[in-house]
């Protein structure tokens, strides 16, 4: 099982009945797996904050709940996390948060351990799938014992790594126990200043008790070995460090906040030298140094990027902590291997949109999704991407800040539901002139085609209401709204120019189903070698089936979906396609 699957399974076996999340790599499969288990309710919420509130509400009602998110999703959900720490709940709440060191698929590599300290909430970190399963159960017990949410932190290499998990075929969730009934308790659950002032000391007292818990929990333990070197590590990094230092004494931390002061002192007393190995921030290192214990940490290991056994070994060789390997691999003959970045798929509607936007010379404030790939060469037609939902607000700010370029916002349908609605309303309410283009492919593309409020289905495959984008934005008060297939370039170009000239806040819904989901495939166009001048104009749309040969361009017919975009850009009419 992957760590994601194991955590969902562990939560299920511990009696979690309600789950909520928004998809985000590397956390997505936690909720997908949970949703597939019998007798549970699971949903894709439009964003992580909503998911968090849903999880908290379920726990208020006396039902154990699971909320899963990627690291940056916890930023979105942070407001809710912080109040839940004050109110506590009425049943266990497990928050699974997956960090992405190395940014395999993220906009930053923030270290979520800081949230534990910041929100004053305990955090566990498993180091393989079996622990992911077990820690889910521990976290839920802790959550109920101490009356607050518990975060289980993953990294990509736990989420998407597989290892053995003990599965007892007879194991099943406990029968729905008599729920502790929901009680109206205004002083505990209404966080107005008067009540919150009385809750804050409760939070501090709880952290004090959790520090004591951290001293005795088996999640934190000393693994004895050669006492000349002691290593402090947790999670995936523990496993990497074990490969490099099979003989060392380890302080293995399964609970990464709050930290066990006495256990750390005991460990320090047993070993001659302490090496703290941790990805991203010096979280353990700073804590241990504050105890007055000298350690080796970030002077040897980097603050950025993903660790691996290779990286740890090389860093330790460089620092003289271990000898260099006898025979380093011989120097390789130099060979330039061209890079292969991710690209928009053949037939993707985002491509037509970006070709037109580039040609129109507009500045494009983008957002998070497949369409962020519009920034890549050769399109280079997207000029900003910050976080989910930022495009429209930034475009509006550019407008108010006096940018002289023509400027539009581009946001996907799932991202719009996530956090684009408020800035969209803002652009209208505050008399902006931003044209917002909703790149509507009818799915959450990048994370693997999850449902959202505009697809007409729920996570558990139930048919449901389908939020109609056009009616929704008209309902907000937009009167300039058009819908168009962006790969019909002439039509899209006309609409774009009309909107840009209008001088008012407006919406274009650039609608074309995701090419990976669409069944529609047309016969690939043919290139007439006598007409093709090999000018390369078609190559500038960055569509992978188009390959430049010596004499002319050719089309890889296996990859081509027959969308016809290249037919429209060829200046000499050399690319020809049968009419629809």
């Amino acid at each position: 099982m992957t760590g994601n699957e194991a955590l969902a399974y562990g939560a299920y076996l511990s009696g979690v009945r309600v789950g909520a999340a928004y998809p985000g790599t590397p956390s997505t499969q936690i909720m997908e797996k949970f949703a597939s288990l019998p007798g549970v309710y699971a949903e894709w919420a439009p964003n992580e904050k909503t998911a968090m509130d849903v999880g908290i509400g379920a726990a208020f009602a006396g039902t154990r709940a699971l909320v899963s998110t990627k690291h940056v999703g916890l930023n979105v959900a942070a407001d809710s996390l912080f109040y839940a720490v004050y109110t506590g709940m009425n049943a266990g709440l497990l928050i699974a948060c997956a960090d992405d060191p190395g940014m395999h698929s993220s906009q930053n590599e923030q270290d979520s351990r800081n949230y534990a300290k910041f929100a004053k909430v305990p955090m566990l970190e498993p180091s393989d799938s079996e622990e992911a399963k077990q820690f889910a159960a521990v976290a839920l017990e802790m959550s109920e014992t101490f009356d607050m949410p518990v975060i289980v932190r993953f990294v990509t290499r736990i989420s998407h790594s597989s290892s053995l998990v003990e599965v007892d075929p007879a194991a099943a969730p406990p029968p729905p126990k008599e729920r502790s009934p929901y009680k109206r308790e205004i002083a505990k659950f209404v966080m107005v200043p008067g009540n919150a002032r009385r809750r804050h000391p409760v939070v501090e007292e709880r952290i004090r008790k959790l520090r004591e818990y951290a001293e005795t929990t088996p999640l934190n333990r000393i693994e004895p070995g050669d006492d000349r070197l002691g290593i402090v590590a947790s999670g995936a990094v523990y496993q990497y460090a074990r490969e490099v230092f099979p003989e060392a004494t380890f302080l293995r931390l399964g609970m990464v906040y709050p930290l066990p002061e006495k256990l750390i002192r005991e460990f320090a007393g047993r070993v001659k030298k302490i090496l703290v190995i941790e990805e991203l921030d010096p979280f353990f290192e700073e804590h241990i140094r504050l105890l007055g214990i000298p350690v080796i940490g970030k002077e040897v290991f980097p603050l950025v990027g993903e660790f691996s056994p290779t990286l740890i070994r090389q860093a330790c060789v460089k620092a003289g902590l271990i000898p260099a390997a006898a025979s380093e691999s011989s120097p390789a003959p130099s060979l330039d291997v061209p890079v292969r970045p991710p690209t928009l798929c053949p037939g993707c509607g985002h491509r037509g949109m970006f070709v037109v936007l580039k040609e129109a010379g507009v500045t494009v404030m983008g957002d998070i999704g497949c369409y962020t790939l519009g920034a890549a060469s050769p399109l280079e037609a997207l000029h900003f991407c910050g976080c989910m939902g930022a495009s429209i607000g930034v475009a509006h700010g550019m407008d108010k800040g006096g940018v002289t370029d023509r400027c539009v916002a581009v946001i996907g349908d799932s991202t719009l539901f996530h956090s684009g609605l408020h800035p969209l309303i803002n652009s209208l309410y505050n008399q902006g002139t931003t044209t917002t283009i909703i790149a509507d492919n009818g799915t959450t593309g990048m994370t693997g085609h999850q449902h959202h409020p505009g697809t007409g289905h729920t996570l558990q495959r139930q048919p449901t209401v389908k939020v109609d984008l056009e009616r929704m934005v008209r309902g907000m008060g937009f009167d300039k709204v058009d819908v168009c297939d962006p790969n019909e370039m002439d039509a899209f170009r006309g609409i774009l120019e009309d909107h840009l000239k209008s001088g008012k806040a407006s919406v274009i819904i650039a609608r074309r189903p995701c090419a990976l989901q669409s069944k529609e495939r047309r016969t690939p166009p043919r290139i007439d070698p006598d007409l093709c001048t090999n000018c390369g104009t078609c190559l500038d749309i960055g569509c992978s089936p188009l390959i430049q040969l010596e004499e002319c361009v050719s089309i890889n017919e296996v990859m081509c979906t027959g969308c016809g975009l290249c037919v429209q850009v060829c200046p000499v009419g050399a690319i020809q396609q049968e009419a629809k």
């Binding site: 992957t2 590397p26 290499r157 790594s161 597989s162 490969e243 330039d336 991710p342």
Partner: protein, 195 residues
């Protein structure tokens, strides 16, 4: 029990994840401790992808270390070439003779290295390279997307497990309607691998 480390490299969408699961499943059947690491999300949109699979008595890290891969499985020629630093003099690379030109090459801004150059690079540390017409064989078996299963067939001759063990793992991990096709592709690779 001797450890065996595998690295699989390909282009997003080529089926590296399924192949790594079959390889992991076979290792478990043979009694190894097994860990794997995969990449999802943005990297899958036609970009470079890699999967690590490790068999051993007790495996800690899911990631293979530089210079310690026993087998490199290349779904595409230059994707295999990227992982040269993971090889050692005892490594064997099984490579699909199949090119997917990356954008810079189709745009005429970079050159796709020749087969000889790639082989020279991968053998420079002393390792061995085995070329396979895996995509062509997979197409013959029913679908070119099964190239990874063909390569696993060739590899299976070297790493243990009888034919039936592998076929059962495939049956368990592949959707029912594709089982026959995948088993056929595996056997074609297994035969080619002994040649």
């Amino acid at each position: 029990m001797k450890k065996i480390d595998y690295l699989m490299a390909g282009v997003g969408g080529q089926g590296t994840i399924l192949a790594s699961r079959i390889l992991a499943g076979a290792g478990l059947e043979m009694g190894y401790d097994v860990k794997t690491a995969e990449v999802h999300g943005m990297a899958q949109r036609g970009g470079s992808v890699e999967s690590h699979v490790r068999w051993g008595e007790k495996v800690y890290s899911p990631l293979v270390e530089h210079g310690r891969a026993d087998y490199l499985i290349g779904f595409e020629m230059i994707e295999a070439a990227r992982w040269r630093t993971y090889l050692n003099p005892g490594s064997v690379s099984f490579i699909n003779r199949f090119r997917v030109p990356p954008p810079l090459v189709t745009l005429g801004k970079a050159r796709y290295p020749s087969e000889e150059e790639i082989e020279k690079l991968l053998c420079s540390g002393g390792g061995e390279v085995k070329w396979l017409e895996a995509s062509a064989m997979a197409e013959e078996a029913g679908n070119a997307a099964m190239a990874g299963v063909v390569i696993l067939g060739a590899l299976s001759n070297r790493v243990g497990g009888d034919q039936d063990l592998w076929l059962q793992v495939i049956k368990r991990l592949v959707p029912a309607r594709f089982v026959d096709m995948n088993q056929k592709a595996f056997l074609m690779g297994r035969t080619a691998g002994t040649a």
